[in-house]
């Protein structure tokens, strides 16, 4: 900056010296002042009119177009973004609903299955019990029957044995009574 300043001062000094030497600047010669003024006004008027009528509106139009395009594009982008966001939300909602539904269905099926199993189990148990009871009855009946048949068989065996040993025929009713007596005493041990 300092060197520039000194340079400037030096040049101004040279200039003034030269001005003094040459005595006068062409700028101050009024011969062509009118001509310069005339041509300046003419050229500048033409320039001004062509610029203000043609070129500036064109450039402004172009700039506005670009700005509008950018604005539109940005707006569109924002719109699409919002749309996609809402869609995403909708999607999430649907997903959540579906999940809930799935849970519900799962729960319902489970409970119905449980109920079914329960009822089946109960009826099965009942049936089993019935069967058991029936079997028991049969068994007890069989037992009763077997007692009487055992008594008859043992009575006949006893009479046979006695007949073979003694050759006498014993009173059947007395044998029967005796067998009954013995069997009553001992049968409880086996049955």
């Amino acid at each position: 900056m300092k060197s520039f300043l000194s340079l400037l001062i030096a040049s101004v000094a040279i200039n003034t010296e030269l001005f003094a030497a040459e005595a006068g600047m062409p700028q101050l010669d009024p011969t062509y002042w009118a001509s310069q003024a005339f041509w300046l006004i003419l050229v500048f008027t033409v320039l001004y009119i062509s610029i203000s009528k043609f070129y500036l509106p064109k450039i402004k139009n172009n700039l506005d177009n670009r700005e509008n395009k950018i604005k539109d594009d940005l707006e569109n982008a924002n719109k699409f973004k919002e749309e996609s966001e809402s869609k995403l939300k909708e999607y999430d909602l649907i997903l959540e609903k579906a999940k809930k539904e799935v849970l519900k269905i799962h729960f319902e099926t489970k409970s119905t299955l449980d109920k079914d199993i329960q009822s089946k189990k109960v009826s099965m148990e009942k049936e089993i019990e019935k069967e058991i009871l029936k079997a028991q009855k049969e068994i007890s009946e069989l037992k009763k029957n077997s007692i009487s048949s055992i008594q008859i068989i043992s009575g006949s065996i006893v009479s046979n044995i006695i007949e073979n040993i003694t050759g006498d025929k014993l009173n059947e009713s007395s044998i029967k009574a005796t067998v009954e007596d013995v069997s009553k005493k001992n049968m409880s041990k086996f049955l």
Partner: protein, 244 residues
């Protein structure tokens, strides 16, 4: 004498003499370079606005940047009311800038280095701004000379100073541009003359100065066009938005 640094500013008649009502309106080299500058501007704007692309090419980009540059300059200094004067200030800025830049070419003529040219532009601006001020505000526009918040004792003095400063606007505006362009070109010519006179042995120093000065002058050429335009905006702002 070829090495006279002021010779480059001489105005010469080109072609026939045009004489209208006793006034010499001949086409001169100054007129020629005005026409060349205007042609350059129009060509630049034509090529810059020819294609309407969303993504601009280089020339279109430069034209649009110039547009936004001037538009921003106006809206920053003179506000939105100055919008109708945008084409004028744009033309003015472009004309001064391109005249300055064309003047930087060797063997060319610098239109703005003539006081008559800058004075006419400055006077036009001064008168137009004054008329705009009176149209917008009537006689209240005279309050521009009476700043508010000044002690009553100082008021007459301040008013006189304000009037003088207002009236000296066209002079300062025109002389600033003219003197800058003339001084710069004279300086370049002087250093160029030194290069020749000092020859191959001693000419390198002024040559390097010349190169540096050329860069500086290009900066000055832009800066003076900018200053000219922004001062116009400031004067316009005074006329449009009356407050002190």
């Amino acid at each position: 004498m070829a090495s006279n640094p002021m010779q480059q500013f001489t105005v010469r008649r080109i072609g026939p003499e045009i004489n209208i009502a006793g006034v010499d309106l001949s086409f001169t080299n100054a007129s020629l370079f005005m026409v060349i500058s205007a042609t350059v501007i129009i060509l630049f704007l034509f090529l810059g606005s020819k294609e309407k692309k969303i993504i601009p090419n280089k020339l279109q980009l430069i034209a649009e940047m110039t547009y936004t540059f001037v538009a921003k300059m106006i809206s920053d200094t003179a506000g939105s009311k100055a919008r109708p004067y945008f084409p004028f200030i744009f033309s003015l800025f472009m004309f001064v800038l391109i005249c300055n830049m064309v003047g930087m070419l060797p063997y060319s003529f610098t239109v703005t280095s003539h006081i008559i040219v800058t004075l006419i532009m400055a006077l036009f601006i001064f008168i137009a701004v004054t008329i705009i001020g009176f149209i917008k505000h009537g006689f209240k526009y005279l309050s521009i000379f009476v700043p508010s918040g000044v002690p009553a004792v100082l008021l007459p003095l301040i008013t006189i100073i304000e009037i003088i400063s207002y009236l000296s606007r066209p002079v300062s505006l025109s002389v600033r541009l003219f003197a800058n362009m003339m001084a710069g070109h004279t300086m370049l010519k002087v250093f160029g003359g030194f290069v020749v006179s000092l020859g191959i042995l001693g000419g390198w120093l002024p040559l390097s100065f010349s190169v540096a000065l050329t860069g500086l002058e290009i900066l000055v050429a832009f800066l003076q066009a900018y200053v000219f335009a922004i001062l116009t905006c400031i004067y316009l702002n005074d006329a449009l938005n009356l407050h002190h």
